[in-house]
Amino acid sequence: MSEAATPATSVKPYRTISVPRLLRKFGPLLGLVLLCGVLGAASDRFLTADNLLNIFRQSAVNALVSLGQLVVIITAGIDLSVGSILGLCCVLVALLLRAGVPAFAAVLAALAIGASLGAINGILLTKLHLPHPFIPTLGMMNVARGLALVISGGFPISELPSGFRFWGAGSLGWIPAPVILVVLFCGGFSVFLSRMTAGRDIYAIGGNPQAARLSGVPVDRRLILVYALSGFTAAAGAIILAGRMNSGFPLAGVGAELDSIAAVVIGGASFLGGVGTVSGTLVGALIMGVLRNGLNLLNVSAAWQTVVIGVVIVAAVWVDVVRQRAAQKRSN
C-alpha cells in the first residue's frame, strides 16, 4: 500500500492550473476587459480617467445591493425585495434628516431598518415554512414599496444636509466616496464569506441544506442572517443614492432587485446555490455599468440598452453552462 506509506503532510492543496479552472475564475473579468477594449475602440471618450471614475460612481449602488443578493443566491435563494427596501430606506433617511436628526444617526437608523426588513424576510421563510424565498421577498417587495409611497405621499423629499451627501456625492481626493464604500463592503463580505464560520455555513446550506443541517449548522439562523445582510446592503445603497440625488424619492430602486440578480449571475454565481464570489459579483456589477455607460456614449437609446443587457445576462449564464457541461464530460 503505497498510499499508506505517504506521510500525511504530503497532501497538497489541489490547485492544478487548467484552462477551464482559469476560465471559471477569470471568465467574467476577461469579459469585462474585452468589453472595455471594444468600447474604447468605438468611442474615444470611453477610456478617460473621468469617464472610468464616472462608471465606478454609477455602479456603486448596484454593486452594494448585489453583495447582499450574492449572499442570498449562494444559499440557493433569491431576494426580490432589495429594490423596495432601498426605496423605503431612501425616503426614511430623508425624512429623518429633514426632521433634524443628525446625519450619522439617520444613516444608522436606515441601515438598521433595512437589516430588520431583510431579517423579516428570513423569519417568514424559515419560521412560517414558506415554500420558496420568492414568496416572502415578493411580499416584502410590495409592502416596502407601498410604505415608501405612503410615508412620502408620493413626492420626493429634497434638500438634504451636505454632511450626509458626502457618501453619495463627495470624494476623497479624486476617489468618489461611494467607491470607497464599495471597496470597504467588498472587503467585509469577502472576509465574511471565506474566513468566518457563518460564511462557510452559507455555502454548505446552498450546496446541500440537508447535509448542512445534519452536520449541526444552524440553518434557520443563518438564513435569517443572510436576508438581513441583503436588507442591510440595500439600505447602504439607499444612502448613496439619496446623497447623490440630494433627495429621498419613493420610487428609488425600482428594478434594482433584477439588476443585482443580473450582476450576481454574470459574476459566475449559480442559481442552484453553493457557488459565488465577491470578486465575480463586483465584476458583474461593473460589466453592467460599463455597458450602460458605453452605450450612452455611443448614443444608443435607453430602450436598446435594455435589450443589450438582457442578451448579455442570458449569454453570460449560457457560457457558464457550456463550460460546466464540458467539464462534466471530461470527468466522466
Binding site: M1, E3, A4, T6, P7, A8, T9, V11, K12, P13, Y14, R15, R195, M196, T197, A198, R200, D201, Y203, A204, G207, N208, Q210, A211, A212, R213, L214, S215, G216, V217, P218, G274, V275, S331
Partner: protein, 487 residues
C-alpha cells in the same frame, strides 16, 4: 389445480459479472397468492423486474398462459395484464384519485377528458375493492393506506391478471393491513394472481398459498405455505451454513460508564467503548430512531440521557453540541456537500462556537485525518463529488472525529462501499470504540453486525423486538426477531 398464468422458467441474470439470478423458476396461478421472501439483495426485485419487462434476462423463458413471450419493455407487460404496485407509491399528489387511476389513458373524446365518466368508473373500481374513497379527492390528501388502494385500483382498472405487491404492508397500521388483506381476497375471487413480496413472515402465512425463498440469487425453496414453518423459512433465507464471523473483538472492552441512554417507548443504553448493533428489516424504524436521537426529526419517543445527564435535543445543533455524531444512511443526500471541497466537508461540524475560521489549524487537522484514515484524495480543495463511495464515507467520519464527537450514530455505514473500504471502516469503528467512543450502528448486513457489535438490538415495526448478547447472537435469532416470527 389451475395451470399458471405467468411463469418464469430458469431465469438467469448478471449485472457486470455478478450473478443476481441463477436459474430461478417462479409461477403464479389464477386466484393464488404466491409469496416471495428473502434477505435484502437476494434477487427478489430483479426477478420481479424481469417479469414486468424492466430488465431482460440473460437466459430463461417467460410464459403467459403457457405460451412463451418476450417482454421488451414495461409497456409489453402492462399490455398483457401484469401490474407492479411499488413500495414507494407512484401517484401524482395533485391529481384526484380517479385521474391517478386512469393516468395516461383517460377515456376521452376528441381530446376532451370526460370527468364524469372517469369518476364513475373510478368509484366502481374502488367499490369493487371494498373501499369508499371519494374519487375526486386529490391523491396527496389520502392516507397512505388509501393511496395504496388507489394504486391497486389502478392495476385493476388495467384489467390486470397478475399484480405484484412489493412490501405493500410496510407503511401500514394493523387494521389497514387487515383491510388490504380483504382486498386481496376479493382480487383472488376474481382470478387475479398475486405475487406478494414481504419481510413479514406472519403475514406470509396468513395470506399466501405458496412461498418461494430466494437467497443470493438462487431459488432455495418453493412449497405450499401449509407445509413449512416460520423456522424453515428463516433457515432458508439465511442459509444453513452460518458464515464465518468477521473477527472476535476483545471481550468486554466496554467500560461501565454509560454514554447514551433512552427511556420511554424505547429503552436502550450504550456504554462508552461499546458497539451496539441495530438490526431490523426495511421499515423497522432504525433510521427514524437515529434521526430522532439526533434531533433531526420531531416527536418524542422518550427521554435522552448523555453521560448520565438528561438532555433535550431539539435540533442537530444541540445534538452536535452534546457530542453526538450522525453518519446518515444516504451519504450523497444527507451526508456531504458534494460540490464543496474535502476541507470544508471535514471542517463543517467542528469549531462551531468560533466566529472566525482558523484556516491553518483546520488544514493541518484535515491533513492529519486524511493521513490517519487513509482518505485517498488529490488534495484539500478537491470537490468530494469525484471521490469513491468509501472515500466519501471516510470524509463523513473525519468530520465527526474533527468535531470531537463521543457518541456515534451510524446508519448503514458501509452501504454501497467496496469490500476493501468496508474492512477499513470496520477497523475504524473498532478503533473508535477502543478509544472510548460509544457506537450505535444500524446495518442490514447481519454478518457485519455479528462481527462488530458487542450486543445486537433488533427492531420490528418501530419497537425493540429483542436484544441479543454477542455470545448468543446468530443470524437465525436475529431474523426471528426482525420478522416478528418470534411472537
Amino acid at each position: 389445480m389451475d395451470s399458471p398464468i405467468l411463469e418464469a422458467c430458469h431465469i438467469t441474470k448478471s449485472f457486470s459479472g455478478n450473478k443476481v439470478l441463477d436459474g430461478v423458476s417462479f409461477d403464479v396461478r389464477p386466484g393464488e397468492v404466491h409469496a416471495l421472501v428473502g434477505e435484502n439483495g437476494a434477487g427478489k426485485s430483479t426477478l420481479m423486474n424481469v417479469v414486468s419487462g424492466v430488465v431482460r434476462p440473460d437466459s430463461g423463458e417467460i410464459r403467459w398462459e403457457g405460451r412463451p413471450i418476450v417482454l421488451n419493455e414495461p409497456r409489453d407487460a402492462r399490455a398483457l395484464g401484469i401490474s407492479f404496485v411499488h413500495q414507494e407509491l407512484a401517484l401524482v399528489p395533485q391529481l384526484s384519485a380517479a385521474e391517478n387511476i386512469f393516468l395516461g389513458r383517460h377515456p376521452a373524446s376528441r381530446g376532451l377528458v370526460n370527468f364524469r365518466e372517469i369518476h364513475e368508473r373510478a368509484r366502481d373500481v374502488l367499490r369493487g375493492l371494498g373501499c369508499e374513497i371519494d374519487p375526486r379527492r386529490p391523491a396527496g390528501e389520502l392516507r397512505l393506506a388509501e393511496r395504496q388502494l388507489v394504486e391497486i385500483a389502478r392495476a385493476v382498472a388495467f384489467y390486470s391478471r397478475v399484480i405484484i405487491m412489493d412490501e405493500a404492508t410496510a407503511p401500514l397500521a394493523d387494521q389497514e393491513v387487515a383491510a388490504l388483506f380483504r382486498t386481496i381476497g376479493l382480487l383472488r375471487g376474481r382470478g387475479v394472481g398475486i405475487v406478494y413480496i414481504s419481510h413479514r413472515l406472519p403475514e406470509v402465512f396468513e395470506i399466501a398459498a405458496r412461498v418461494t425463498v430466494l437467497r443470493d440469487g438462487k431459488q432455495v425453496l418453493t412449497r405450499a405455505a401449509g407445509e413449512v414453518t416460520p423456522d424453515d423459512l428463516v433457515r432458508a433465507m439465511i442459509g444453513r451454513e452460518l458464515k464465518e464471523r468477521l473477527e472476535l473483538p476483545a471481550a468486554d472492552r466496554a467500560s461501565p460508564e454509560e454514554a447514551l441512554r433512552i427511556e420511554g417507548s424505547l429503552d436502550l443504553t450504550i456504554r462508552r467503548g461499546e458497539i451496539v448493533g441495530l438490526a431490523g428489516l426495511a421499515g423497522a424504524g432504525r433510521t427514524k430512531l437515529m434521526e430522532w436521537l439526533f434531533g433531526a426529526r420531531g416527536g418524542r419517543a422518550g427521554r435522552i440521557f448523555i453521560e448520565g445527564r438528561e438532555v433535550m435535543l431539539r435540533s442537530p445543533v444541540e445534538a452536535v453540541r452534546n457530542g453526538l455524531a450522525l453518519v446518515p444512511d444516504d451519504r450523497k443526500l444527507k451526508g456531504l456537500v458534494l460540490g464543496a471541497p474535502v476541507l470544508h466537508n471535514i471542517a463543517l461540524a467542528g469549531g462551531r462556537t468560533r466566529l472566525f475560521i482558523r484556516r491553518g489549524r483546520e488544514e493541518t487537522a484535515a491533513r492529519e485525518w486524511i493521513g490517519s484514515l487513509r482518505i485517498k484524495v488529490a488534495g484539500l480543495d478537491q470537490p468530494v463529488v469525484y471521490l469513491s463511495g468509501g472515500t466519501q464515507q471516510k470524509v463523513v467520519l473525519a468530520r465527526w472525529l474533527h468535531a470531537g464527537a463521543r457518541v456515534f450514530l451510524m446508519d448503514e455505514p458501509t452501504r454501497g462501499i467496496d469490500v476493501g473500504a468496508k474492512a477499513e471502516i470496520y477497523d475504524l469503528i473498532r478503533k473508535l470504540a477502543g478509544e472510548g467512543a460509544a457506537v450505535l450502528m444500524a446495518s442490514s448486513e447481519l454478518e457485519e453486525l455479528l462481527g462488530l457489535a458487542d450486543r445486537i438490538v433488533v427492531m420490528h415495526r418501530g419497537r425493540i423486538a429483542g436484544e441479543l448478547a454477542r455470545a448468543e447472537a446468530t443470524e437465525e435469532k436475529i431474523m426471528h426477531l426482525a420478522t416478528g416470527a418470534a411472537h
